[in-house]
């Protein structure tokens, strides 16, 4: 194990600082390369660490003392164990290629340098979060990500919608962050430490205690905000306003995964409180189904991917909730690879079509941009869970875990898998196959430059092979590598589950191919009109935004209105009244301060006389 593992999060920070101060001078090529080089070095380091772990080396852990507040000793440190190894390799790998890709995608952008500065910062934040050995440092990285995502989503803030989307993302995740704060205070008070190992030690002796459940739920509330689970999911689709590499980074590899990682990191806490696990499982289940249903009717290619991300995050949460710790974390990793691939592929398409994102105006692009199409299809198959693609292995594990824990969740997961395969097929068919629906768009389409296609190819490799080769890479089966607490919760492979998983995936793909590739559009319209009310509801994403608008935004505005009236007439009245009273008293008493020294002396003598009289009267 290299002793310099702490460099993994620090290098991107340094790169970010370099870019902040010298970015313009470094230029359009060298600048991004600095960031990419830092991330790449981090990747190499993490790979070395992973190999060391594979060889049986003990986990890495380095700390410094940060602050002593009363009995609360806060130490800061980084650790690198098997969980971290799996996630960090994915994050650095994806981030490295995303940065390369962005060099092509963002070319000529007015805020080119700012973009790469913040991408580096973002990566650093994610790595800090993953490798933190205590909740405070974890929160630090978490908040850095919050800030960086705000900046990146609002990268093109000249368009007011983008600025509002960034604002929405920030505020919504902030609502979740409150949970993290609350959990931190609660744990600091109850466990007396913010070190993860210390917390877990304290939890071990207090299984089922009220504060364990409360802390777990607070943490999960934070994860819900970050990972866009119901009901705090509304920001994720809007966050597609950012540049596509950002979407790939935020919504595939890093930020949303941080929510899941938070649950995984504090899994001991959740396990000690059975209730919290159930909540996690059911929120994940509902989210995955909801997001899958909404994704079916999305027309914007990135929105489809956004809802699919939400759905996949639901899978991960559900897996963790039903006890499939290894399955959930494994899915984080595989999903990170193939969702980054899908986003970058979509970005490639969008780039080629001059920022056209509506799938109904695409079609037949396979011939124009074959590399993008092939890699995108690889990603699609991985997402759909077709063996031997990476997604199959992790999703199979999840379904297996659900099957053993709760049949209702198993069937929800299966329906979700069917829908996933269906809407991804729809996206692929509408984008790359059929005849071009918009001649003008089609004619300008061209394959992206190498700087963009190479990352696509690079990401296609783990999407294709990670599931298959992970045991070889890790030197042991994934569920052993990611065994929680030393004991591998191994689920017996079930041929039934395997058959269902493969079956729904294949069925979904076939159904999608038939519906969107064979059935004429007119028939589709007929079906839609027959199911008009349902269609409308789904199309409007179950009216979540409208509900929030009505309840929270309007409610807050009404409250603010009331507060405004109170402020204007009551508070201001008091304040102005006090000021007016002071002015009045001052204008009256000003006459006393007339500059005549003898007037002051007269008052003084009068006071003395009065004092003597009072003293004699009282003192007797």
């Amino acid at each position: 194990m290299p002793g310099s593992m702490w460099l993994i999060p620090v290098l991107p920070f340094a790169a970010s600082a370099v870019l902040l101060f010298f970015g313009r001078r470094l230029g359009a090529v060298l600048g991004p390369l600095v960031g990419a080089a830092a991330t790449g070095t981090s990747f190499v380091l993490s790979l070395l660490g992973l190999l060391a772990l594979r060889g049986g080396a003990p986990a890495y852990h380095a700390q410094i003392r940060w602050a002593e507040v009363g009995d609360l000793s806060i130490r800061m440190g980084f650790m690198f164990d098997k969980l971290e190894a799996a996630v960090v390799t994915m994050v650095t790998f994806a981030s490295f290629f995303i940065q390369l890709y962005a060099m092509g995608y963002m070319r000529g952008d007015a805020k080119y340098n700012r973009f790469f500065t913040i991408v580096s910062l973002f990566t650093a934040g994610m790595l800090t979060t993953v490798m933190a050995d205590n909740l405070l440092l974890f929160t630090l990285g978490w908040e850095i990500m919050g800030f960086a995502s705000f900046s990146l989503i609002g990268h093109w803030f000249e368009k007011i919608e983008n600025a509002w989307a960034a604002f929405k993302a920030f505020v919504t995740t902030r609502i979740g962050d409150l949970g993290l704060m609350a959990a931190m205070f609660l744990l600091a008070a109850q466990a007396g430490t913010l070190q993860f190992d210390g917390i877990f030690e304290a939890v071990e002796g207090a299984a089922g205690a009220w504060w364990v459940t409360l802390a777990a739920l607070f943490l999960f509330w934070a994860a819900v905000g970050k990972s866009a689970q119901l009901p705090l999911h509304v920001w994720l689709p809007d966050a597609m306003a950012g540049p596509t590499p950002v979407s790939a980074l935020i919504h595939a590899a890093t930020m949303v995964a941080a929510g899941v990682f938070l649950v995984a990191r504090n899994y001991a806490l959740f396990e000690a409180s059975g209730t919290a696990l159930d909540v996690v499982a059911w929120v994940g289940g509902v989210t995955l189904l909801f997001a899958a249903v909404v994704a079916v009717l999305q027309e914007d290619i990135k929105k489809v991917l956004a809802y699919s991300t939400m759905s996949q995050l639901g899978y991960m949460m559900m897996a963790l909730g039903v006890g499939g710790y290894a399955a959930g974390v494994f899915h984080v990793v595989t999903h990170g690879y193939f969702k980054a691939l899908l986003f970058l592929g979509a970005g490639s398409v969008i780039h080629a079509l001059h920022h056209e994102q509506n799938m109904h105006r695409m079609g037949g692009l396979f011939r124009r941009m074959p590399v993008t199409a092939v890699t995108f299809i690889i990603g699609m198959l991985a997402l759909a869970g077709i063996p031997p693609f990476a997604g199959y292995y992790s999703k199979d594990e999840i379904l297996l875990a659900a099957y053993e824990a709760n049949s209702a969740l198993f069937w929800i997961g299966s329906v979700g898998a069917l829908l996933t395969a269906f809407y991804m097929t729809r996206a692929v068919v509408l984008t790359f196959f059929g005849r071009p629906r918009d001649k003008h768009v089609f004619e300008h389409a061209h394959e992206s430059p190498a700087v963009m296609t190479v990352p696509l190819l690079a990401l296609a490799v783990p999407s294709l092979l990670y599931g298959l080769l992970a045991p070889q890479l890790l030197g042991q089966p994934v569920h052993q590598w990611l065994a929680f607490g030393g004991h591998a919760a191994h689920h017996e492979p079930s041929s039934f589950v395997m058959a269902v998983a493969t079956g729904v995936a294949v069925a979904g793909i076939l159904l999608g191919a038939v519906v969107f590739g064979v059935v004429p559009a007119a028939s589709r319209k007929a079906v839609i009109s027959a199911l008009r009310p349902l269609y409308t509801v789904i199309k409007n994403k179950f009216y979540f935004d409208e509900l929030y608008q009505a309840v929270f935004v309007r409610g807050t505005r009404a409250l603010a209105g009331v507060a405004g009236v109170v402020d204007r007439y009551v508070i201001d009245g008091l304040v102005n009244g006090a000021a007016a009273l002071t002015v009045f008293i001052g204008s009256q008493t000003r006459r006393l301060t007339n500059g005549f020294a003898q007037a002051y002396m007269l008052v003084l003598v009068g006071g003395v006389v009065l004092g003597i009289i009072v003293f004699q009267a009282i003192g007797g």
Partner: protein
């Protein structure tokens, strides 16, 4: 009636009449001279109270130094009034008192306040129990010096600093600006 009572009566009369003239005399020069009289008489009172050292200091500092400063201030600031207005010389006691009681802005109020103060103070004194007659106190200069440099060292040092500051301040305030400072600041 002992000699002491006579002496006290004479001193008290000098002090009170002198004080009155300090305040009421129409000529500021007369005020200053009556102040000198009062200060010397107060030194006499100190002598009656066996405070010999204090009496000498009173004459030395007040009658010598402070009076000199006051006289110079009057001479430098009130040239019009020196020599005075001949009518003021012939002013009777009643007229003088009447004019003195008229304050520029507040009429009789200051006099009334001061009178009330005196009445209250004397009323308070009247209620004091008469303290036992003390034995003869012998206080030498050495005792005073020892007390000043032991028990009262800090106030003593502070007083020195205050005096130094006053000296510097007075010089700075009265030094004339410009090139004639060399010859002008002295007299």
């Amino acid at each position: 009636m002992s000699l002491q009572v006579v002496a006290f009566a004479v001193l008290a009369a000098l002090i009170l009449y002198g004080s009155y003239k300090v305040v009421a005399s129409p000529l500021i020069t007369h005020s200053a001279l009556f102040l000198a009289l009062v200060l010397v008489s107060v030194a006499g009172v100190f002598l009656m109270l066996d405070a010999v050292f204090l009496a000498v200091v009173q004459v030395l500092v007040y009658a010598g130094a402070v009076m000199a400063v006051i006289i110079f201030a009057i001479m430098l600031s009130e040239q019009r009034e020196i020599g005075g207005d001949p009518s003021a010389q012939r002013m009777g006691f009643g007229e003088e008192l009447r004019r003195a009681l008229r304050s520029r802005h507040w009429g009789l109020l200051p006099a009334a306040a001061a009178a009330l103060l005196a009445v209250l103070a004397i009323a308070g004194i009247g209620r004091l129990g008469a303290p036992a007659a003390p034995g003869a106190a012998s206080t030498s200069v050495a005792d005073v010096g020892r007390a000043l440099l032991t028990d009262y060292l800090v106030p003593f040092e502070i007083a020195s600093a205050v005096l130094l500051a006053a000296v510097i301040g007075a010089i700075v305030l009265t030094a004339r600006e410009g090139s004639d400072a060399r010859d002008g600041g002295r007299s």
